[in-house]
């Protein structure tokens, strides 16, 4: 597509990168068909092609973001379904990251929105604060309907509603790593910030799986949030700080003991860590180190899939609907490995119709855009229930929470099932469900 940037604008590395992305878009419209918000709303401005076009205009004219543009970019789930569809290889993720940063710089959000976003950015990446917030949410449950009527209250109410689906997952503290005798490999396992609080059982299962296969697991104590949450909220420099911090932490591990992989059990984080090399490309001190970290990042299912895998020891055969998180299938293009692991363990894996469409979780989206998120959840649950599964498996805590809040069918992480099949404990949520 034709672009119209001034030479001075193009001198900026971000702008010139975005210009390249825009030039690749031929405005064919293919991506509109697989965009969840266009499917629901039918407005070009809520489609990838429309957003790309609005971003192009905003950046070309070096205009401050307008409330209309912000509204349509905010509605984007960053599910990246458009990138899977695009025949022309348009890197929508990098473009929208740039747009979000531009919005953060040039647009003042209404106060309630600002407070909410600020709070999410200050709470979610910090396990201690998140634990506290969850306690507050639990005691606020009775007033959530009343809250919903205040300005910005719908989002607060959505948050409280979501927190209730954690009730069967016990909050715990961070795990130490695990050593094995004569290790065949050594990996760092990302603790994950929200996951540490809400889904420690996931990493417990991952550690058991890895050590069972002779892989030593390290969990560096000072590792921080991957930066995904703040990045999607538009806090670019905080995201870069988070990336630099983790690059340092993992580089230290590489230098002291070596790492075969940085294993991630939350695909939302995996997508961003795999992008560190790009994010820090203009930072001379970090570019190379970051690229090395990105090259080492693996989703747990990718990593397991490459190992000579042990056989399962339990009677399986349960019907599992595998829900592929957007960050898994679109962000990382990891598609077959999780299903093939489950099949290896004897589960009957069913594909979910319309599997490429987001469940509405999308990081903090289900808090910030509850209406669209709820419609997408309902659509997803209907599609999942069509294949009549006994269990739903997914590789991303956000999806597990989101879908779990809309169905009675238990939702677990893929590695929890694989671990159970190999002799690990039964995931809490499955107790009494397998009959």
């Amino acid at each position: 597509m034709q672009t119209n940037f001034s030479l001075t604008a193009l001198a900026d590395a971000h702008v010139s990168e975005s210009e390249k992305i825009l030039r690749a878009c031929v405005h064919c419209g293919f991506c509109t068909a697989t965009c969840p918000t266009y499917l629901l709303l039918g407005d070009e401005a809520d489609s990838p092609r429309g957003r790309i076009y609005l971003i192009k205009d905003m950046l070309e004219e070096e205009k401050p973001a307008t409330p209309q543009v912000v509204e349509h970019i905010d509605r984007c789930l960053t599910c990246l379904s458009c990138m899977t569809t695009c025949p022309s290889g348009v890197h929508y993720m990098h473009l929208v990251d740039h747009a979000r940063a531009h919005i953060a710089r040039t647009y003042t959000r209404p106060l309630p929105d600002r407070l909410l976003r600020g709070m999410l950015a200050k709470v979610l990446p910090f396990p201690g604060r998140l634990r506290l917030a969850l306690r507050v949410a639990t005691v606020s449950r009775p007033i959530r309907k009343w809250l919903a009527n205040l300005p910005g209250g719908a989002q607060l109410a959505a948050m409280i509603e979501l927190s209730s689906s954690f009730k069967r997952r016990r909050p715990t503290r961070r795990l130490p790593g695990a050593t094995v005798d004569r290790p065949r490999g050594r990996v760092a396992l990302l603790s994950g910030c929200a996951q540490q609080v809400l889904g420690q059982n996931i990493n417990e299962a991952a550690i058991r799986l890895l050590t069972r296969h002779g892989i030593e697991v390290v969990q560096p104590i000072d590792e921080g949030c991957c930066g995904a949450l703040v990045q999607h909220l538009g806090y670019e420099s905080r995201a870069l700080d988070a990336a630099r911090h983790n690059v340092d932490v993992w580089t230290r591990e590489i230098e002291n003991g070596g790492l075969d992989a940085i294993v991630v059990t939350t695909s939302g984080c995996g997508t961003v860590i795999k992008d560190y090399g790009f994010l820090l490309r203009n930072d001379n001190a970090y570019a190379q180190k970051a690229a090395r970290i990105s090259a080492l990042a693996r989703d747990i299912t990718e990593f397991l899939h490459e190992l000579p895998l042990q056989d399962g020891v339990r009677t399986t055969g349960q019907v599992v609907a595998y829900h592929s998180a957007c960050s898994m299938q679109h962000g990382q293009q990891v598609r077959d490995q999780p299903k093939s692991l489950l099949r290896r363990m004897g589960f009957v894996v069913r594909e979910v119709p319309e599997g490429h469409i987001c469940c509405g979780s999308a990081g903090t989206y289900n808090v910030l855009q509850p209406e669209i998120a709820n419609r997408l959840r309902a659509r997803k649950v209907t599609n999942i229930e069509k294949v009549k599964p006994q269990i739903i498996a997914s590789g991303n805590l956000g999806c597990i929470t989101q879908i779990g809040a809309g169905t009675r069918i238990p939702v677990v992480h893929t590695v929890e099932l694989v671990d159970w099949a190999m002799g690990g404990p039964l995931p809490d949520v499955l107790e009494g469900c397998l009959g």
Partner: protein, 478 residues
């Protein structure tokens, strides 16, 4: 520089913008009325992005009644209307003008009825082409016309452009698969044409509406013929050391009376582009590739393929490779259907759409190379060869104004060539604004006057898609 002219907007309408918008708020749901500059901008172009015009406003109705109310209002107050489906037109058919309201059908995307006994499906016009097949696929049915843009383009847009696709060689294009429409005329009246079966009573107005590029009315519902999927289907790749050989092979297959489901052509440039995207296993050591698909029982497929292979070999085919799995078949078609989009990875392009008699394919391909070279540009060819429907993609740099005008000049020369050899300006993409000024090359005045009279019978004030299809100076003679 931009060569296609737009008419001056009607100042009186522009001056009334606020009151028009105010009136529209009473006619459509607020979520379906778009008026801010930023949001209107998303509608200023379609897939012919070299041209853009901001609309006065955009309405996205949810029901036929809302469409009717908007059209009646526009008719009564003299406001132009530009219908829009998914905006994938390559001819600028959905590009607005500053004094026009865009009426988009994208919120009208419900499936209304499926009838397997009588083999039809009724949908709203904003339903995408591929989702029609998706609805009926689980029962072994499909909707035949398959434009490469089928993932995104709408049934309403397909009807307006009489769209076709790879598999139309055997099954016919939109007009052969459409049974009926509900359509709103510019004065707001709602009419039903056709029925639930082919060839219904009365004057064939349905045939007239197909391909009328949104100038006779706005289609809001369509009844489509669905077909039982064949027992089996198999695409085969034939690689040729020369473009002429491939072109000749197509002509010979058609001349022998063999009708495969599809014969698609790609030249070397297109093969490289598509292979890089789809990893379909296209041969990279050939100058031209034909994707031929046959279907039926194994015995039928083997027999037809033997005949086609003999013809291909006689024309010098060096590679013959059948798809071995469903995954491979999907990749072969994905590569082909993504060809235009994938071309965006290497350059901007203008996509031509001339149709020529299949016997002239080799000659025209050679001439196209010369024309494009003469203008100092490159070309990639990927098209529906069985129908002689050519899509030379003229590659250029859209940020270089001199290349833009060279590309357009080359495009004009190519389309003239198509007409000269006995073909036509447009196989399936429509005239839109892109080929409007070449219409005189194809038709003489008497032909055009008669077309314009028909158009005026439906829309006497020329409010629907005003600046499209007919040369701008021609309208008053109607």
């Amino acid at each position: 520089m931009s060569k296609i002219r737009f008419t001056e907007p009607n100042r009186e309408i522009l001056a009334r913008r606020d009151s028009i918008i105010n009136d529209l708020t009473r006619l459509v749901d607020p979520a379906g009325l778009i008026t801010s500059t930023d949001e209107c901008r998303a509608y200023e172009t379609d897939a012919l992005t070299a041209y853009r015009k901001m609309p006065l406003a955009v309405v996205l109705p949810k029901t036929t009644e809302e469409v009717s109310a908007v059209l009646k209002y526009c008719h009564d107050t003299g406001v132009k209307v530009v219908p829009r489906g998914a905006g994938t037109s390559l001819a600028g058919g959905a590009i607005p003008s500053e004094d026009a309201v865009v009426l988009g059908l994208s919120k009208m995307n419900r499936v209304l009825a499926v009838n397997y006994d009588d083999r039809f499906i009724r949908v709203e016009a904003g339903v995408t082409n591929l989702s029609v097949t998706a609805v009926v696929a689980e029962n072994g049915f499909f909707y035949a016309p398959d434009p490469s843009s089928q993932l995104a383009c709408t049934i309403g847009g397909n009807i307006a452009n009489n769209s076709g696709g790879a598999h139309c060689l055997k099954y016919g294009v939109t007009t052969n698969n459409l049974l009926g429409v509900r359509m709103v005329l510019i004065d707001g009246s709602i009419i039903d044409l056709g029925g639930d079966y082919l060839d219904s009573a009365g004057l064939d107005l349905l045939g007239l509406v197909v391909g009328s590029e949104g100038q006779l009315g706005i289609v809001t519902e369509a009844t489509l013929r669905i077909l039982k999927s064949a027992e089996g289907a198999r695409p085969v790749l034939f690689g040729f050391p020369s473009c002429e050989g491939a072109g000749k092979a197509v002509a010979d297959v058609i001349a022998a009376g063999i009708i495969p489901v599809a014969i698609e052509y790609m030249d070397k440039a297109a093969i490289e582009i598509c292979e890089a995207f789809a990893k379909a296993g296209y041969p990279l050591d050939v100058e031209a590739l034909l994707i031929v698909e046959v279907e039926g029982s194994d015995a039928e497929m083997d027999a037809t393929l033997a005949d086609i292979t003999a013809i291909a070999r006689a024309n010098g085919a060096t590679t013959v490779r059948e798809s071995r799995s469903a995954i491979e078949t999907a990749a072969i078609w994905k590569g082909r259907k993504s060809a235009f989009g994938a071309t965006g990875r290497v350059a901007d392009y203008l996509c031509m759409d001339g149709t020529v008699p299949t016997g002239k394919l080799s000659y025209v391909l050679a001439e196209i190379s010369k024309i494009v070279q003469r203008h100092g540009l490159r070309v990639a060819n990927v098209f529906h060869a069985g129908d002689g429907n050519m899509h030379p993609l003229i590659l250029y740099n859209a940020n270089d104004p001199s290349q833009q005008s060279k590309a357009e000049a080359a495009g004009d020369d190519i389309l003239r060539l198509c007409v000269e050899v006995g073909g036509c300006l447009t196989g399936e993409h429509g005239v839109g604004i892109e080929k409007r000024d070449l219409m005189r090359y194809q038709f003489d005045d008497a032909d055009l006057v008669q077309q314009i009279r028909v158009r005026a019978a439906f829309d006497p004030r020329w409010l629907l898609n005003t600046d499209k299809v007919f040369p701008l100076d021609f309208r008053c003679q109607g």
